[in-house]
Amino acid sequence: MSNEQRVTRDEGRVRWGAAVMLVLCMAGAASAARIEFRSEPDFSAIEPVHHSGNAPARYTLSVVDDAGRPIPVARVKYTLLSPPVNAFFTSDFPIVEGTTLMEGDAFLADGTLSWEYLTPIRGDYRLVVDATPGFGAAAFAPVHDEIRYHVNEKASNIRNGVLLMVILFGVGFVSGYIIVRPRTIRPAIALVVLALVSDSAMPPPASAHGGHEHHEVAAAPAPGGVTKGDSAQLALSFDPPSGTVGKLVTIRAVATDPDSKPLANVRFTVRLHHLEDDKDMYTSTFVAPDGTFTWRNQFFDGAEHQIIVTAAPVESGAFTPVTAAYTMDVEAICPPDNVVARMWTFHMAIVVAGMACGAFATRRSRRSAAEGGI
């Protein structure tokens, strides 16, 4: 081999080595992304909705690098799953248990996606996230993560539930004690009095779940179809057109110019408003490079909701923001009969246990009195 051939071969080896090093470096940089998920307030302070006027919690999903810096222009697909069905005890929304609450596919222009959401029930939620680089973003290896967080039951609900059990046990105990012991008073009259007393000891019902109250949303835009603005138009579509508790509704919004050409770099703001309770159940902002966003949501409360979508340019001045709205009926589903039967039986079992204890207490006191008299 001549010296020239030897040099050429050595140069080739150097170039190959450099290329391999470059690929390895890129691979190392590509695997640096991770997903962060946090809430405000902290997860331990979040309580279920319960029509109680709770403010929505704010959740933030981020795709960050090793240094914790958000990676701009990442794309995430996420699915929020409700707590699984409990074999023994139920929440107040049994239809919602073990279902998908929302699914989204969003571009994170600044590496984060935030939303405000009223959580339906207590329990362990699961957020499944898949993150990939968005167009024009720095490369990173796709990331898959399953985030679990727990929502505690409201302290007052726990207190009321325990109070109810104590009352039922007390009713059973007193009735068992009175009925089993030798009659000194008319048991029937005593039990009627007892039932009236126990009924009045129950917490009074709050304002009714009115079926026909109408709450006006200020400046609510015209519902459905295509809403035309000065320099843009917004089309909303829903599949199915009405919601059902426990099932997802696909919400699709397309922002176009007056010639129906899709607009680029659109920031969509989505707001779900519970008309009966006059409060926002969900609020978020999506960035859509192609002017289209698709999102799936479960309306977990069987009441009318108003869906308000606003399309605005990411770069101000590109077009005039336009807002469209749609009033969606949501069909409520009664709790399954087996769940109702199970919970009713559980509470009645407490009464029976109280009766047994009351009867036992009577017999024991009678036996003690008999032994004392011997």
């Binding site: 319960h50 029509h51 109680s52 005890f89 139920t90 929440s91 107040d92 929304f93 049994p94 239809i95 919602v96 039951e153 007052s156 609900n157 726990i158 009321n160 539930g161 325990v162 109810l164 039922l168 009713v171 059973g172 009735s175 068992g176 009925i179 089993v180 009659r183 048991p187 029937a188 039990l191 039932a195 009924d199 129950m202 917490p203 009074p204 019902p205 709050a206 304002s207 009714a208 779940h209 009115g210 079926g211 508790v245 977990f300 409360d301 069987g302 409520a332 589903i333 009664c334 709790p335 769940v339 109702v340 919970m343 009713w344 559980f346 509470h347 009645m348 009464v351 029976v352 009766m355």
Partner: protein, 62 residues
Amino acid sequence: MSANMTSHRHEKKSIALSMTVQLALVLIMVGVVLYAVLFTTYPPVHDFFHELRHSMLLIPCH
């Protein structure tokens, strides 16, 4: 006199129910009240007690 006296046998019948029946009646009464207040899906009753049900721990509502 005693022959002319009509012996009246006053039979006192107890109208008191047996212990078991009384306990059963109490259970039925409590069960009906419990179901009506916390479990029935009959709309007027459901709407009236709606907030109460959501303020409890183990009461399914929707």
